[in-house]
């Protein structure tokens, strides 16, 4: 048995799968103030009359971190930065309690200006005096040299041993210092609450005799073990849309280019599948207006859903961003997008007569007949959704590229299929697919695609290796892994690839991801000869490898 639970803004869905069939699904309202309780209630609903010991895996997708960051209710955290050369320090005032230290590391990892002990001491004393118990530390180019951050961490340990420290170089160590600092900061901010949540879940599962691995869904559509999420809880942000996208992957299981559209009450979320895999945002997740190093799906949202109210005004037809209740045909007070689509398509849905009356009233206000009014709403909705989707295609086609080959061979997005999820998908998706000129699918399990996606998502893991043979060393962007290169002359791209793959394997073992290593993909492999004078003094490599989002091996699909 496999269980997936997805916490949404208003309700929480859970599914229990057995031998490729959905045997139970549960829906409960989400209590945002106690998500653990909501999750356990859904779990109990799923397990009712079943043996918890037979569960093979439980995956939870939760809004806990998203909410914490959105409401800024995380733990007060100080941020110590060593920005070195570059933008004025003011550009990095990321946290209310930000401390700047002197010091500089260059792009090759050379410390050109050391940090001053006295400055560290002053900052830590101040943090301590303010009673701030958590400290995130990030230095510019700490991805090329961790010693500066480590030195600060040692000083904190000595001066303020009770403080918890998160280092940028151990959370997200790719290029981009502000994103690294933000990621480390958010990680520290959300950790206490997240750990409390993890403790409760672990304890409750133990009581229920559920011994299966518990995984958490991440923003990138993959999972990580609950125990490891304690180190980097911020990776669980925005897992809801990731759950839906993985649900579409699970329901289709086709290596196609597709649009997944999740049409809710007042918003539509759109994700892209490229060859059957969800597309990631090149910029990393955007949280509270700040970009991070967290891999997240490329998503676009539009304030347009099935319950969006429509109105007419002196010849104009408007789809508003407001919701006054369900669609008129389901007893709502005003005409909605759903009513317009049902009316336009001549579908008998719910109280069809009531819907027609509300449409007629709105049409009259626009000075139109009901038919043309509904048609105009439909046209406007399809136009806006279509434009958003086309915009996503263009963005994918124009992803930053830095090689001649990539510019000359610019790719084109060729859409194969449209997947609909969410309450109003049945009404809107057929017409949208028609406009895009592709077939569509609104699966019978679409209403629980999110929980299903969580249940069958496999672990993901990405590793970026940077190697410098002149300095005879390599660094990896996770968990502080680094090593020396013993034979710099013989270290070529092939060796760099192997080293990256070894690091990936090491990390995968702890994440229950070892069985997916044969699906390791090289995302980027670049090498540069370092020439000084007229001779080569070394090489610089960068190799990115990953286990991409996908479905667990045990899942073989559900019937259409």
């Amino acid at each position: 048995m496999h269980i997936g639970i997805d916490v949404g803004g208003t309700s929480t869905d859970g599914v229990l799968l057995h031998r490729g069939e959905l045997v139970q699904s549960v829906k409960k309202p989400s209590r945002q103030e106690d998500l653990a309780e909501t999750i356990l209630a859904v779990l109990d609903g799923l397990l009712e009359g079943r043996d918890a010991g037979a569960v093979r895996r439980l995956v939870i997708s939760t809004t806990l971190v998203t909410n914490l960051l959105a409401t800024q209710k995380g733990a007060r955290t100080a941020l110590i930065l060593v920005p070195g050369r570059g933008l004025p320090f003011d550009f990095y005032r990321i946290a209310p309690d930000t401390y700047f230290l002197k010091g500089n590391i260059d792009f090759r990892g050379k410390v050109t200006e050391p940090v001053e002990e006295a400055e560290i001491e002053r900052a830590v004393a101040d943090i301590r005096a303010r009673g701030i118990g958590r400290i995130a530390v990030a230095a510019k180019f700490s991805n090329r040299n961790r010693t500066v951050e480590q030195e600060i961490a040692r000083a904190i340990k000595r001066l303020y041993p009770e403080a918890t420290v998160v280092l940028g170089s151990e959370t997200a160590n790719r290029l981009n210092f502000p994103r690294r600092a933000v990621t480390a900061y958010y990680s520290a901010v959300t950790a206490p609450e997240w750990n409390g949540f993890a403790d409760r879940i672990e304890e409750a599962l133990h009581r229920r005799g559920l011994k299966a691995p518990v995984d958490i869904l991440k923003a990138d559509g993959g999972t990580m073990p609950l125990v490891l999420s304690r180190e980097n809880p911020v990776e669980t942000v925005f897992s809801g849309p990731a759950a839906s996208a993985m649900g579409a992957v699970a329901l289709s299981r086709r290596k196609e280019n597709a649009v997944v559209i999740d049409i809710g009450g007042t918003t539509s979320d759109i994700a892209l599948l490229i060859d059957g895999e969800p597309l990631h945002a090149s910029g990393g997740a955007l949280i509270n207006g700040r970009l991070t190093h967290i891999n997240a799906l490329a998503l676009r949202s539009l304030a347009l859903g099935g319950d969006s109210a429509v109105k007419g005004e002196s010849g104009r037809v408007e789809i508003t961003a407001e919701r006054f209740g369900p669609a008129a045909c389901f007893g709502g007070p005003v005409a909605t997008v759903s009513d317009a689509f049902a009316c336009h398509r001549g579908l008998k849905l719910g109280e069809a007569e009531r819907a027609r009356e509300k449409i007629a009233a709105a049409a009259a206000a626009a000075g139109l007949e009901p038919g043309p009014f509904a048609a105009a709403v439909v046209e406007q909705a399809l136009e806006r959704l279509g434009a958003l989707i086309q915009g996503m295609f263009r963005e994918w086609e124009n992803e930053p590229a830095y090689k001649v080959w990539e510019i000359v061979h610019r790719r084109r997005f060729r859409l194969d299929r449209l997947y609909g999820i969410g309450g109003a998908a049945e009404l809107i998706v057929p017409l949208l697919a028609d406009r895009l000129g592709v077939p569509y699918l609104v699966h019978r399990l679409a209403p629980v695609a999110n929980a299903l996606g969580a249940a069958v998502a496999r672990p993901t893991l990405a590793v970026s290796l940077y190697a410098d043979t002149q300095q005879k060393r390599y660094l990896v962007d996770r968990e502080g892994i680094e090593g020396s290169i013993d034979n710099p002359e013989g270290f070529r791209l092939e060796e760099a690839r192997k080293t990256a793959a070894q690091c990936l394997a090491r990390l995968a073992a702890a994440r229950g991801a070892a069985q997916y290593l044969n699906d390791t993909r090289v995302i980027l492999a670049e090498q540069f000869n370092m020439i000084r004078g007229f001779s080569r003094v070394g090489k610089i490599f960068r190799v990115d490898v990953q286990i991409a989002p996908g479905l667990i091996d045990e899942f073989e699909g559900v019937a259409d």
Partner: protein, 450 residues
Amino acid sequence: MKPTGLLFFPAFDWAISPSHPEREERLLYTRDQIFEEGIMDLPQVREYQPRLAEARDIARVHFCVPSIKDIASEAHLVAAGGSLVMADAFAAGEIKNGFAIIRPPGHHAMTVAHGNRGFCNINNEAIMIEYLRRKYGYRRIAIVDTDVHHGDGTQEIYYHDPDVLFISFHQDGRTLYPGSGFVEEMGAPPAVGTTINIPLAPYTTDEGILYVLDRLILPLLEEFKPELVVNSAGQDNHYSDPLANMRFTATGYAELNRRLAPDLAVLEGGYSVETALPYINLALIMAMAGIDSSNMREPDYDPAAFKEDPGNLARLDRIAALQLENFRRREDERAAAIKKGPPFYSTTRQIYYDTDHIRESQQIKQRLCPNCCSYRVIASAAVHAYGQISRALCFSIPLYCCSACREEARDAYRQAVQEGGGADYIYLQDRAADDYRRFDSRGDTEETIN
């Protein structure tokens, strides 16, 4: 406030040869610095992606011998296309200014292109400027070439065009490639005074360059009133550059760009890939984006390290006075040249292609017309390294040509095509009609370049 446009195209898969200064590594550390700063994430900066320049974009500026395909590789087309993307964004009002950090560079490439000169095959700035003029109607343009080497390609392309003010400061040609760029190179008679060269003594510092900026370059721009200012932004004046001997710093480059306030900047040379380029490029981006760049300096920067020689400043004063006078006399000089006749101004020139070892000789004729800056005819013969000779006859009609001159030039082209006249290739560049043709005498075929 509109953002600054940034187009970063490091051509990580292109090099002239593995250990050449123009190699893959050139912008590697600049990439590291740009991305580590997170500069692309700032609201003050918007990143753009390059596209391929089209053949007609190249033909608007160059006569490529034997063909565009042979001279401009895909890398060159992407670099040139990158400058066009910046131009479009600027002309459309999306950005307040733009910086194209592109390679390969272009400012040594001349109108007739037989191969690579000074690491350049096609001239990115000129291609960008002619595109802007054609598509958006710009006319008066100023180019300030801040590369340490004389921008002889750009100078040659605009030598006869009074609507383009070309200003180049560079290390004195007696001490550095390409050995030109002296004050007496002032433009062809119909455009005399709109080419301004400022040869600098080796070891000139920030102070010296900013001195000549304030006393000569900015006043020239003030008087010329260009619709557009382009910085041909080389970075090899830096004190650590291996190919030259100047003492300019990243801080100096930022200050230069702050005062110059170019609308568009296009990267040219600069070969101190590790100790200069990351700092100069970032400082320049910040200066253009209106961000305080005082914290963006080299790790070994010492403001007191280089002192300007007072004798050098006095010399710069003399150059400034002389060039301002040359510039202010330009209308009279031009009128006198046209009045005096003969109907054609003609000259000859030898050009050496250092990278490709080509020796080219040219005969140049420019029509002197009271109504327009008229057409040019260039007869070019190039001797390649292995002894092969190629000859080209080129007719170039500027965008703002009067109709009489234009007809005359087109007739001359047609007549040359009929008679052959010993050229392997005969070209027509009619910017007024955006019509570009290449006639191959051996195959007796004419093609229109699109």
